[in-house]
Structures are given as structure tokens and as C-alpha cells.
């Protein structure tokens, strides 16, 4: 499973970070950093990544099966 991140749509609401800080983080500029950019999410992080993606209020994060 992969997570696609639409960085232009991300407004830095930070709900993904609340849900899965080990996968998503916002820096001091409010920009999103996604730990597994462009790669498959390792199985031990898949649940957290999915939870973070599902919490995005503006649909900037999507789970790609």
C-alpha cells in the first residue's frame, strides 16, 4: 500500500500528525513531511499511515492500494 500526498492541496491542518506522528509530521513552516514518500508503506506502519490518511479533512492524503 502507498499513500499519495497532494502537497498543493495540503493546508497543514495536522490531523494526520495527531493520528500517526511516526508517519506524518509538520515542520515549523507548517509543511507536511511524509516518511514513506514514493515507496510502499512498511507493513508495521500500514495501519497508522491509513489512519493518518483517512483523517485528512481536505483529501490531500489518499491510500493507493
Amino acid at each position: 500500500v502507498q499513500i499519495s500526498v497532494d502537497y498543493t492541496r495540503c493546508e497543514g491542518h495536522g490531523l494526520c500528525e495527531d493520528q500517526a506522528p511516526e508517519v506524518f509530521s509538520l515542520d515549523d513552516a507548517g509543511d507536511l513531511h511524509y516518511r514513506f514518500e514514493g515507496q510502499d508503506v512498511p507493513p508495521d506502519h500500514a495501519t497508522a499511515a491509513g489512519r493518518g490518511a483517512a483523517s485528512c479533512p481536505v483529501a490531500a492524503l489518499k491510500v493507493v492500494p
Binding site: R9, E11, G12, H13, G14, L15, D18, Q19, L26, A29, G30, A54, S55, P57, V58, A59
Partner: protein, 396 residues
């Protein structure tokens, strides 16, 4: 537009006083009837199941906001071209002018102000012990924060709540509430236009930056007028509704308040749960611009589709025991009360900040909310209390 045999229909008017007071059985019936249900009384398809509601909000190709938000033509025409009622590139462009001022990061400097005001307000009310949780608490904070933030001139503020309420009433079916509201929406638009003409906004405010965007040529004067109202009208009643409902719920479910007091880190989730349980915005519409479907139910091009957030947020297909108020609910964050996707509420960070600050201030001192008799404020779009007498008990 007529319904086909395959499409379940629902006869009842879901905007009568009775239905607005007790909506949840209607919503359950609609969810059980199917993914999309033809509302005879309103000439629209209701989408009330969580997964379908979310899918419609995400599908901006087939479901448009322009001419789709309200359940009646006059209101849709009046708001055409504002961020709420635009699509695609125009929407992205308009949203960009304002949304960057509303992100959690941009709002960071506001946190101190909001927290301080919430603390002061709560300290004063706790001292009084008995107060109205709507007028003295829920309304007081947003009114002391939002008009300044938007930069609205001091004169004219006395009309804000009436105008904002009218705005939301106008989005319903063209019932008596909506008909009475429409002229007042005109008043508000007139006031907004006047502000744009005279440039009478507080320096450094969101409104001032909207005017700068106009001066730079990023947006037209007409768009500027729309944007002046776009974020003001929705930023008051919604937050007021959520805060009033929070006190009402914590008064009824004191064990949930104990949870918050034991672990204040639950407050952000509690705000999600309040918004899930008593969604401030009942529903927004969309216009199907192509022949499409909702989970197998055909929706012809030109149909109105009503996405009922308040029903989706109580969907038993999504939430376990949806009629239980539970501040520890793990998936409360999935609630659709702020909408979802491209049109997801741009002001939610500010709304969350206000609600969280008030609950945090209350949790430090208040052990119990003793409720008096609540009165509902009936509005076509907003579910809210108009009055909630409360006596607070404190430790010691």
C-alpha cells in the same frame, strides 16, 4: 425530475419544526432506505450513509457546488461565485486568497489571544456560577475573536448573528424560514459591498489581505465582495453551535466530563465527537452535472443531491454505537461535520482552537454542569441551542 422505480423515496418534509427538533429518526430511516433516497418534499436526493456522503464530497467532477449548495434557486443564485459555491480552478483560486490565513500555522499567533480570552471568560462565568451557556459562553468567544480577525468594522457588528443565521436559513428548501431570510441575506451582501467600496476594514486583518489581493489584480471587485462574506457568515453560528452542544452533552453525560478532566489531552478528540454527535451544519447540497450514481443508485444529470452530514455522522455502518457520546471514540476524527475534500471547512483550525480553549479552561475548574431547560434555535441548516441555562459546580 422524477424518481425512477429503482430509487427509494421519502415523503416527509425533513425541514419542519418537528423534524429539525428531532431529526435523527428521519436520518436513520433515510439511511436504511438506501444509498440515495429521493426526497419528495424537497426535489432532491438525500445521501445519508457515511461512505456515500464522503464519496460524493470527494467526487467534484460529477457533483458541483455552484448552483448546488442550497435547496432553492434564489439562494443558489445569490451565493454563486463565492468560495462555497464555486468549483475547480475558480474555487481553488478563491480559496487560496483566504485559506492560507486560516491554517493552523498562520493561526499560531492567535492561540495566545484565544486562550487568554477563553480563560478570562470562563473565570468570570465560573464566579457567577449560573449563566446561559449559549449567550454568555458559546456566543461570547467567537464574537470577541472572529469579527476582529476578519477586520469587520465596529459599526454593523450588531447585525452579524442575525445575518449569519439568515444566511444559513436561506440554504434550506424555500420554506417560511428561507423566505424570511433571503432579504436579510441581501442586507448582509449590501454591507459587504459597502466595506469593499470604502475599504473600511481593520488593518492587518484577513479582510485587509482580501482587499490587497483585489488591488494586486488577483481577484475582481465582485469576487472581493463575495470573499468578505464567505468566511464571516460561516464562522460564528457553527462554532456557537458546537460549544453550546458540548456543554449540553457534558451536562447530560457527566462520566464523559470526568474523562476530560482526568485526561485533558482528550479535548481535541472530544471536539470531533461533539461535531460528530450534534453536527452544527446539517447538510449541504451539490448539483449532479453528469449522469452518475451513488453506490448503484442512478442520479441523472441536473439532479440536486443533499449530503446530510448529520446523518452520515450517526451511520451505524461506520460508527460503533453511533448514538452514544464517547469522547474516547477512536474514529471520531472521521466525522464529516466540517465537510470533506476540496470544500472541507477552511476555518476548522480556528473553530477547533476556540472550542478546545473553552473546554480546557472549563476542565480546570468545573466538576459538573447542572443543566436547566434548553431551548433550540431552529434554523434550516444549523442545529443549535438558542438558550441553555447552566449552573457550574467546582471543586471545594
Amino acid at each position: 425530475m422524477t424518481s425512477t422505480a429503482a430509487v427509494p423515496t421519502y415523503q416527509a418534509d425533513i425541514y419542519t419544526d418537528e423534524a429539525l427538533l428531532e431529526p435523527y429518526e428521519h436520518y436513520r430511516a433515510l439511511r436504511d432506505l438506501g444509498p440515495a433516497v429521493w426526497l419528495e418534499a424537497h426535489g432532491a436526493y438525500a445521501v445519508t450513509r457515511y461512505a456515500d456522503a464522503r464519496a460524493v464530497l470527494a467526487n467534484t467532477e460529477d457533483f458541483h457546488s455552484a448552483n448546488g449548495i442550497a435547496l432553492n434557486e434564489p439562494a443558489n443564485s445569490a451565493i454563486l461565485g463565492c468560495t462555497l459555491a464555486s468549483d475547480g480552478e475558480l474555487h481553488a483560486h478563491l480559496r487560496q486568497v483566504v485559506a492560507h490565513r486560516l491554517t493552523p500555522r498562520s493561526l499560531r499567533p492567535m492561540r495566545e489571544t484565544v486562550t487568554e480570552r477563553a480563560d478570562e471568560l470562563v473565570a468570570e462565568l465560573v464566579q457567577r456560577r449560573s449563566f446561559d451557556a449559549v449567550s454568555d459562553l458559546a456566543r461570547a468567544l467567537p464574537l470577541s475573536i472572529v469579527p476582529d480577525f476578519i477586520g469587520w468594522p465596529t459599526e454593523g457588528r450588531e447585525h452579524l448573528l442575525r445575518w449569519a443565521g439568515a444566511n444559513f436559513d436561506s440554504f434550506g428548501p424555500l420554506n417560511e424560514r428561507a423566505q424570511q431570510a433571503l432579504p436579510q441575506c441581501g442586507e448582509m451582501a449590501g454591507f459587504g459591498a459597502e466595506i469593499v467600496r470604502t475599504g473600511n476594514v481593520l488593518p492587518g486583518s484577513l479582510g485587509a489581505s482580501v482587499l490587497e489581493s483585489r488591488d494586486k489584480g488577483d481577484i475582481t471587485t465582485e469576487q472581493t465582495m463575495m470573499l468578505m462574506l464567505d468566511y464571516l457568515a460561516p464562522s460564528l453560528d457553527t462554532t456557537i453551535s458546537a460549544v453550546g452542544s458540548a456543554i449540553w452533552l457534558f451536562g447530560q453525560f457527566p462520566d464523559q466530563w470526568d474523562r476530560i478532566r482526568e485526561d485533558p489531552s482528550l479535548i481535541p478528540n472530544a471536539v470531533n465527537e461533539v461535531v460528530r454527535y450534534e453536527s452544527p451544519i446539517r447538510a449541504f447540497g451539490r448539483l449532479a452535472v453528469n449522469d452518475t450514481e451513488v453506490d448503484g443508485v442512478p442520479i441523472p444529470a441536473g439532479s440536486r443531491v443533499l449530503v446530510v452530514y448529520a446523518a452520515a455522522n450517526r451511520d451505524e455502518r461506520k460508527f460503533t454505537d453511533p448514538d452514544v457520546f464517547d469522547v474516547t471514540r477512536a474514529d471520531a476524527v472521521h466525522q464529516l461535520g466540517f465537510g470533506y475534500g476540496e470544500h472541507g471547512c477552511a476555518g476548522q483550525a480556528l473553530a477547533r482552537m476556540e472550542a478546545e480553549s473553552l473546554l480546557a479552561a472549563l476542565a480546570r475548574t468545573v466538576t459538573r454542569f447542572e443543566l436547566g431547560r434548553p431551548e433550540r434555535a431552529l434554523n434550516n441548516l444549523i442545529r443549535a441551542l438558542g438558550s441553555l441555562p447552566v449552573t457550574v459546580h467546582t471543586e471545594g
